[in-house]
């Protein structure tokens, strides 16, 4: 398993996914380097969410290679195994555990033995609490730590979910539309938060909001009809003829 075929953290090559004849991904190829933050944009139906589903094991591709860390074939693993490898995912619609407190949401996400027997007999200790405190500080949810997650505002739920990702401490974070439904101020704060997290995590952000992507200031990949049509800085891709044609709606 130690034979690395690529230096990339995530490597997709010729990935194809069809649903009832519709090609959601059409020989998609993409490589993300360790430590990188990559933004993925594209119009509706471009295959952004399907790509995340493939990487996290929710959808099996019909064809193509998906390699993590150069040696793990993600197409053979299920969601749990992939999560254990160190890939965390934030959903488009914030999904937190509504009837748990903010604190417990983070606790459940903390890196630890996930097996049923281990959780049944675990004694909670102070060490977890320290880590929870640190994460709540980063995502600015300290004051609402004892509240039920179901009662949070939309923006707070998004941050809680990002906090849960941090608690998982994954090597790669997949973040689906983190700024959706946020106010301008919240959007800017979210961009700051992601940059802060990027200091020691590799991140892939899927986003619609161009202003947000500009705020991030990272390499951008443009998807269209399940394939990459352009890659480069935000200025480069937004001047690309083909991108203007398909994405900016001309």
């Amino acid at each position: 398993m130690d034979i690395r075929t690529t230096s990339s953290l995530l490597y997709l090559d010729g990935v194809t996914v069809s649903f009832d004849g519709f090609r959601a991904l059409n020989r998609l190829s993409l490589a993300v380097e360790p430590g990188e933050m990559r933004a993925i944009i594209g119009p509706n139906g471009a295959g952004k969410t399907t790509m995340m589903d493939v990487v996290t094991g929710k959808t099996r591709p019909d064809d193509g290679d998906v390699l993590f860390d150069g040696s793990h074939d993600l197409t053979r693993l299920d969601e749990t195994e992939i999560a254990e490898l160190g890939i965390g995912r934030k959903f488009q619609k914030p999904t937190v555990f509504d009837s748990h407190t903010v604190e417990d949401n983070i606790l459940l996400a903390l890196k630890s033995d996930r097996r049923a027997r281990a959780t049944l007999f675990r004694r909670e200790n102070g060490e977890a609490r320290e880590r929870i405190d640190r994460i709540l500080d980063i995502v600015r949810l300290g004051p609402v730590r004892a509240r039920l997650a179901g009662g949070l505002s939309h923006g707070q739920k998004q941050w809680l979910e990002i906090g849960m990702l941090l608690a998982q401490d994954p090597k790669l974070l997949l973040v689906d539309e983190p700024a959706a439904g946020m106010t301008d101020a919240e959007t800017r704060q979210t961009a700051e938060l992601l940059k802060q997290i990027n200091r020691n995590h590799t991140i892939i952000v899927v986003e619609h909001d161009m202003a947000f992507v500009r705020d991030l200031g990272v390499k951008v990949t443009v998807l269209h009809e399940g394939a990459v049509i352009a890659e480069g800085s935000i200025d480069q891709v937004s001047n690309n003829e083909r991108v203007i044609e398909v994405y900016l709606g001309r």
């Binding site: 555990f97 097996r115 959780t119 675990r122 909670e124």
Partner: protein
């Protein structure tokens, strides 16, 4: 195993104490006071309440998986009945030569069907420890195999409920057949002794009642320990957002399989305690309607509260007894249906859930009042 303070908060300690008092007081009042005394509890009432306690244990088992993990099993009556049959088989073997046909080994129905010898799967049931093991093992094994396939294939929600109904229905049809070897239509009855004591004797009934309450208390303790552990938090996470739990790296199907199997074992014990108290077990216990009714007890009492399941089971069954013995008898099913609709519309949290919600609301209002109370702040606001 786990810190006791976490498992037993004040409410559950009080509840357990209440059950313990019941386990001691009811048999005492029944045995020590003569029937003429106003303090005497008649034996038929002891058995009736013993039956409710068994139903309460079944409801508790359902609440563990439905209220905390979101698995709505509408086939738990099957595990209850299997436990009951295992106990029934032991009781049948105790009859010996006192049966109508006085056969030393074969139960009456086998003699009647001209069976030459005891089927292999009846072997060993004359020994109580073996039967007691089967009470837990048979429902547990069935639940394990069923759950293994269902949860691995990610069958959830209403689809799971439907296949659990199919499971209990299929078992009912099987047990109705004479050649299945469990007494067919009539089931197992005419019991004489349990562990050498006459099942119909007043003392035995009082002890069975006390044992049933003790089993309920143990079940409650186990459930509390589970739901207050980290494991229990994962169960609630699965109930709230199953996919999220999976992406966090939890193996959801192992968690479900464990609680589902444990829940089936609890249902089996409930069934085993039920049979000697009612004196019969027959295939109608597998009927899908029974399992649905058990889910209604939990809904009425309050899902995800444990105490609610117990209270719900007792309240609904007490109402059932009252309604089905008297002028109102023909209307019981209407009452049950109406009750379910009323609870769904008006009390979606159930009795205990609503009460707890009201308590927290009141406490929060209280806190809010303290905060806004016009106490002058000694320091100026920043």
């Amino acid at each position: 195993m786990m810190p006791l303070t976490r498992t037993l908060d004040r409410g559950s300690t009080l509840f357990l104490c209440g059950l313990a008092v019941l386990a001691i007081v009811v048999p005492t009042l029944n045995l020590l006071f003569p029937p003429s005394s106003p303090l005497h509890v008649p034996t038929y009432l002891v058995s009736l309440f013993g039956k409710y306690v068994c139903y309460a244990l079944l409801a508790l088992a359902i609440d563990l998986i439905w209220g905390y993990c979101g698995i709505l099993s509408l086939g738990h009556g099957a595990f209850f009945a299997l436990g009951g049959y295992a106990m029934g088989m032991y009781l049948m073997r105790q009859i010996g030569t006192r049966g109508v046909y006085a056969h030393p080994v074969l139960p009456d129905f086998m003699v009647f069907l001209n069976w030459p010898e005891l089927p292999v799967y009846w072997y060993g049931f004359q020994h109580f420890p073996y039967a007691a093991l089967m009470v837990v093992l048979v429902p547990g094994a069935l639940a394990f195999v069923f759950g293994w396939f269902a949860f691995r294939s990610r069958v959830t929600g209403v689809y799971l409920s439907i296949i659990t109904q199919a499971l209990t229905y299929a078992l009912m049809l099987g047990f109705f057949r004479n050649n299945f070897g469990f007494g067919g239509n009539n089931g197992l009855t005419d019991f004489k002794d349990i562990l050498g004591f006459n099942v119909r004797a007043q003392g035995t009934r009082a002890v069975l009642f006390a044992v049933s309450v003790a089993a309920l208390m143990l079940g409650f303790l186990v459930c509390r320990a589970i739901v207050t552990s980290r494991f229990g938090k994962v169960l609630i996470a699965i109930r709230d957002a199953e996919a999220r739990t999976r992406f966090l790296g939890y193996r959801v199907e192992s968690y479900k399989l464990f609680v589902f199997t444990l829940s089936a074992c609890m249902a089996g014990i409930a069934g085993a305690l039920y049979v000697p108290q009612v004196g019969i077990i027959n295939p109608s216990e597998f009927s899908p309607a029974n399992s649905i009714e058990a889910a209604i007890w939990v809904a009425v009492g309050g899902r995800g509260t444990l105490t609610g399941a117990i209270i719900g089971a007792v309240v609904v069954n007490y109402a059932k007894t009252t309604f089905t013995t008297g002028a109102l008898a023909p209307y019981w099913l209407f009452v049950l249906g109406g009750l379910f609709i009323a609870v769904t519309l008006l009390l979606p949290r159930g009795i205990v859930g609503t009460f707890r919600h009201w308590l927290t609301e009141r406490r929060r209002d209280g806190v809010a009042k303290v905060v806004v109370s016009p106490v002058p702040d000694p320091r100026p606001a920043e």
